[in-house]
Point group: C2
Chain length 451, copies 2
């Protein structure tokens, strides 16, 4: 075997990790991937038992110039956990930080370690009459640490806000290996700068989140999706504006469009020949009645289990049609919703790809999707070109290249143009300040292209 020049550093990383977490919790050459389909190999993957071991791993890596890649439930869409670059990395899996440190249902709060799944928090809340609203999907795999690192959204962010709104405190390891907390089990706090919010959504590039204090809220007594199908995109978007004018705040306003409805036909209505389906969720009978009025004569109340089970499966079903899809998550001002949806189709046509979209219409956050055959390099290249056009569209419409998935590796460089040069410089200054060696998740959430 030809000796790899990086073999010695890898052995040193593995040995250090084993000293900290124990041999049985260290793996070599671990392939890491997520829902983006990107892949990369972590020279060493360590599974710390608790925040203190995570701190020691970071401290060792920082002292030894070793890149750190935090790994949560691997359900992200932008390659945030996928190792990159020439140096061997130390990936840190948060899987064993699975403890619920405290739970006070009567005070609407819970403190969990980063590796606790979203489903666990949701279940504990539900069993106590409470709700943890963020629902970014894949709850059985997705972990709270990853939810925070990406500031995850989901359908119910429309009424309830994204993950950040439900976090009162963050515990994290900062460079060069300091375990700190910003906030805690308190509902208001303006004493320091909002470093809690700065870490949330930072995709592991400013520090390693080890635990969170979360707020909960009483669960609604019922959820009633009001659904309707429309002949055109224009009619569907008008219905969404109608829901905004109904005087109530729907818990969610979702849409699905075009061939998404052909590939994944909704079981609860006949969308045949229809271009657009709207789901607006009510939580009371009064809200249901207002939404029925707002969405027009075609609207009716559907079974929530049926609606959300189907809605949760759309992405996978559409992906299977050609074998792969490229799905983005741009967000646009609500007055540009129709344009964003229509131009997604135009972009697909220009690149010879079938396109469709769905998403969180009430938040202007659309999952523009291009279907392609992964075995066909030309189609893959076309999908990447289509994505570039889509990011340009988001910027042109005054929107964001990412409403909820983050930049990760997939959207590297796309912040430039959305933000001005001076704003990007501030983004980069923050990174350089909190991670002076550039070791936290290198290459991710990078504002401008590398070259």
């Amino acid at each position: 075997m030809v000796e790899n020049v990086l073999e010695r550093p890898v052995a040193a990383i593995a040995a250090a990790a084993a000293r900290i977490v124990g041999d049985e919790y260290v793996a070599r050459d671990e392939l890491l991937t997520d829902a983006s389909g990107l892949r990369g190999v972590a020279a060493v993957l360590a599974r710390p038992a608790d925040a203190e071991q995570a701190r020691q791993l970071v401290a060792w890596a920082y002292a030894n110039d070793t890149p750190i890649v935090p790994v949560g439930g691997a359900t992200g869409y932008s390659g945030g956990i996928v190792p990159e670059g020439p140096l061997p990395v130390l990936a840190i899996s948060m899987q064993r930080l699975w403890r619920v440190r405290s739970f006070d249902p009567l005070l609407w709060r819970i403190e969990v370690e980063a590796g606790v799944t979203t489903a666990t928090v949701a279940r504990l809340a539900r069993e106590n009459g409470l709700l943890f609203p963020p629902d970014p999907g894949a709850p059985e795999q997705s972990q709270i640490g990853g939810n925070l690192a990406t500031n995850a959204g989901g359908p119910h962010a429309f009424k309830y806000g994204v993950t950040s709104h439900w976090v009162t405190g963050v515990e994290a390891v900062l460079a060069p290996g300091e375990l700190v907390s910003f906030g805690g089990p308190i509902r208001k706090d303006v004493a320091g700068y909002d470093l809690r919010s700065l870490l949330i959504g930072s995709e592991g590039t400013l520090g390693l989140i080890t635990a969170a204090w979360l707020r909960l809220t009483p669960a609604p007594a019922q959820t009633i999706p009001v659904v309707a199908a429309y002949a055109t995109i224009e009619e569907g978007v008008e219905a969404i504006y109608g829901a905004l004018a109904s005087g109530i705040v729907p818990a969610a306003i979702e849409y699905l469009q075009g061939t998404a409805l052909v590939h994944a036909p909704p079981p609860f209505l006949d969308a045949d020949g229809r271009q657009f389906v709207v789901i607006a969720e009510a939580e009371t009978e009064h809200e249901r009645d207002e939404l029925l009025l707002a969405l027009g004569p075609a609207a009716f109340a559907a079974d929530p289990r049926e609606v959300w089970r189907w809605r949760g499966g759309v992405s996978l079903v559409v992906r299977a049609v050609r074998g792969e899809k490229l799905a983005e998550d741009i967000a646009v001002p609500l007055d540009r919703l129709q344009e964003a949806i229509e131009r997604t189709l135009e972009i697909g046509a220009r690149h010879g790809l079938e396109a469709c979209s769905w998403g969180h219409a009430g938040d202007g956050n659309i999952h523009s999707t291009f279907l392609y055959d992964p075995a066909d390099p030309a189609q893959r290249a076309a999908s990447e070109a289509a994505a570039e056009d889509l990011f340009a569209l988001a910027r042109e419409l005054g929107g964001s290249v990412s409403g909820e998935h983050g930049l990760g590796a997939l959207k590297r460089g796309q912040l430039l143009g959305q933000w001005s040069e001076a704003a990007v410089a501030a983004h980069e200054a923050i990174k350089a300040t909190l991670d002076p060696k550039g070791l936290f998740n290198p290459g991710k959430k990078q504002a401008r292209p590398t070259s």
Copy 2:
């Protein structure tokens, strides 16, 4: 007249300001004060007409090593606008940035300049069936820029969240004089670091906020305060826990305690001999009925105008009793609420001062208040010593020294101890990065004591 060695720099500042904003919008030796009672003199106060003039003022000040003090509606409680230090400062009043740049009621959003009053936004929203929930008080004077700079709260933050939750975009001038925007009229955005949240609550120490994109929400059809008086603090706090267990989210959960009820007797109930009054606000009849049950047999529905007019006046009435009061805004975990309220009274007794409290019980955010005669130096000193004890109490209970007023000048140095040394170092690193010359509102939001 003895020539002041600082006279030449002051003349230069005034001349530069006049070139940018015009002679008639520049004042000399302006006394600045806010609701904290702190006072200081701005060598020069300039009133820019728009964001571009504000940018030019900052650019000149930054190039000429001149401290910048942003001035909003002067309704803060921590001396955030009060100039300090040996150098002559350029204060920048946002009063003339009074424009509503855009308003889309059907899309629940508004873009306003920093000098627009909170009342203007609230009124525009209300006239269109919408609500801008943050209600920190003094709405006719208080400005949106200041609301953002302090991340202002208020009673309805309990249900609706603090100011940050309603801001989708911030426009600000950063060092050394760059006008930037983070976010905009989009409801979701995770492309860059959350610099929007970092600026919010930064008290003018990281940049000068010039405009904001705000979210609005449909106004509730009605507001029904459910009120009750209790014999003891313990009974009152139990009732608050009862409201949390009611299965609904009250719009606000307020309390008033002790001699506050003697000095400012509620006009809507007989609090004679009672220690504690709770106000929990319902927005539907169902919620009203749940709160009536939760707050016990003494509870009844009161007139919202009567309740909130009285509630808004409490602070001034109590202040007038001895001539002055020292009122803080610590926040504690909800399980420590009773202890925080009782120990406020003990702290007052220990320092020979009448003490009482009120505040946002549902958020654990209490306004601990010590009454004193401002003409009596011993009493003033006692009140300051009491405040120190109170901050120590907040830290001991795992809370925050400030739930909604910010550190300003009044609470300088109080973050240390609440945050660990490493967390404070991150706070300071952010300041040094975004304001390398330390010219933005010097001495404010400072984590550790100066010496």
